[in-house]
């Protein structure tokens, strides 16, 4: 049961800023098993988001390796990385990042259109997800007509659309009030239980971090 989906080995990321090398990540070794809910906390600039970006294959490490389901993905070609993100990962952002010209429903069907899931199936799946997330009556509204909490729920539905193995959330409650924060945190917990989807959540908020089954803390690019 303890199948490892993500494993990083001595992962590092160095930025060059004004001629100076800055180690954003310094030798990270991390294993994430299927269905695990991990939160990462730490002060600003500690490298939390950089770690999440590397795990999410949004940028390349400076050193070390990342494996996804046992396969080294740190040297894959761009198109293959795109496909992995598209089908195996879901992203949730602090600012929701919904497509403004699309309705809630279209935002959720969009990743499925890219993966060429037949229209009937993607509509069914999107509706089921939106209903599950309590947005049955908001499906045909555009992002600007949705509240912050609703927008983030649409974004979660979008992240789940292609039935990924892993959900990556970067400060998902950073733009929400305390009630909505509680609501979204609880929702992530439920989805983790219900769908058995692994979640890596980066947050400043200790309360939010407590929702995870494992809490990691980063300081100066290292896991504490």
């Amino acid at each position: 049961m303890n199948e490892i989906i993500i494993e990083t080995e001595n992962l590092s990321r160095v930025f060059t800023l004004g001629g100076q090398d800055i180690k954003a990540l310094d030798g990270i070794n991390l294993k994430v098993t299927k269905g695990e809910f991990i939160s990462i906390t730490g002060p600003s600039g500690s490298g939390k988001t950089t770690l999440l970006n590397l795990i999410g294959l949004l940028e390349q490490p400076s050193g070390g390796t990342i494996s996804f389901e046992g396969r080294d993905v740190s040297k894959l070609r761009e198109g293959e990385l795109d496909n992995l993100r598209l089908k195996q990962m879901g992203f949730i952002f602090q600012t929701f990042n919904l497509m403004p010209t699309f309705t809630a429903l279209e935002n959720v069907t969009f990743p499925m259109e890219i993966t060429r899931i037949p229209e009937k199936e993607r509509l069914e799946r999107a509706k089921t997800l939106l209903e599950r997330l309590g947005l049955a009556d908001r499906m045909h509204h555009k992002p600007k007509e949705l509240s912050a909490g609703e927008s983030q729920r649409v974004a979660i539905a979008r992240a789940l659309a292609n039935e990924p193995l892993l959900l990556l959330a970067d400060e998902p409650t950073g733009n929400l009030d305390s009630n909505t924060t509680k609501e979204i945190t609880a929702l992530l917990q439920q989805l983790n239980d219900e769908y058995g989807i692994a979640i890596i959540l980066v947050t400043h908020d200790n309360q939010v971090a407590q929702a995870a089954s494992r809490t990691l803390r980063m300081v100066d690019g290292r896991l504490d």
């Binding site: 970006n53 999410g56 949004l58 940028e59 761009e78 198109g79 795109d82 496909n83 992995l84 993100r85 598209l86 089908k87 990962m89 992203f91 952002f93 600012t95 990042n97 497509m99 403004p100 010209t101 699309f102 969009f110 990743p111 259109e113 890219i114 979008r158």
Partner: protein
Amino acid sequence: MLLTKLAVRNLTRRRARSILTIIGVGIAIAFTVTILSISEGLMVSFENSIAKQGADIIIVPKEAEAYPYPDVAAFVGSFPEELLDEIEQVDNVKATFPVFTAIPMDFMPEKPGAIPMLYGVTPDYFPEVVPYLELAEGRFIEDSDEYTLVAGSGIAMVAELSLGGSLEFRGKSFKVVGILKSSGSLDDGMIYTPLKGLQEAYSKPGQLTFVPVKVNDISQAEATAREISDTWPIISAQTQEAMVDKFTDLMGIVEAANVGLSTVALLIGILFILSTMIMAVGERVKEIGTMRAIGVHRRFIFQLVITESLITSLIAGVIGCISGYLLSLAITYILAEFFGLTYFAPLVNARIFLTGIGIAIVVGALAGLYPAWRISKTNIVQALHYE
């Protein structure tokens, strides 16, 4: 399908900007289509007049030798009619048709463009040299006529001529005996009179400005023309073919000008769409970063921007072609109605429309390339944090 849907949504997001861009590019294309159709129409009308003529050789005064169109001779010189008797003795010459031309610059002061070309001809000129001309009403010129005229359809319309009416040139009154059907050529703007009458009116009795010649053996036409030119230094003889060639050269210059013009329209179009697209993708960096993060391929983003650019330019192309056609009709109408220039028949054919649409496609594709390339190359992490 998804690409088109997204592209259309993006374009309608900033409706005013998209519409302004379409108008800008549309105007550039309309302008090109207008000029192309008018110059093409003019070309056809010249071609109809020159290439259809029944003459094998044209004789003009030496001074008019370099001009592609014999009527110009009316401005530069003339030669004595007696020469024809001698020319007819040249071996290959079958018949000559004396013509005296004049251009009354003050014909209709209120319509400064309505300047007919006056052709003083003999009756056999019609069946032999311009057999394609047909009468709408009345008759052609006859041997017994002195001061009569047969008017081209265009000039008849502009000057409101009708049978039995008359026109005055240099104090002589010419009676309208025939009106021609429109031939889509320069003849529509001409007035034919008896040779003698016109020569007298212009105080040039016995003078000719050009002479169409028919030969027995067309294969020897060039040698015959050379012989005529060499024998009488005051005149210049050229084969009809050489005249057409000269004219074709002139049209080559017009064509080159048209290509230049189309290129300018193309550049204007590219700059318009380029600036719009750079603005449009600049506003969407974060959105495009999100799409890339979700797993949308770079290629899709590239295609999306190109699609937006192409949709804009194609709409502009269609609007430009249609309005360019309408504009050329309007210009022709104005030229005919207010200036009396009747031989501008705009020609819109598939080629001109395809040129318009072709320009639109090239504009769309080229203008989209740079913004598409730039945005599709954006670093995902930087794009996600772009504000």
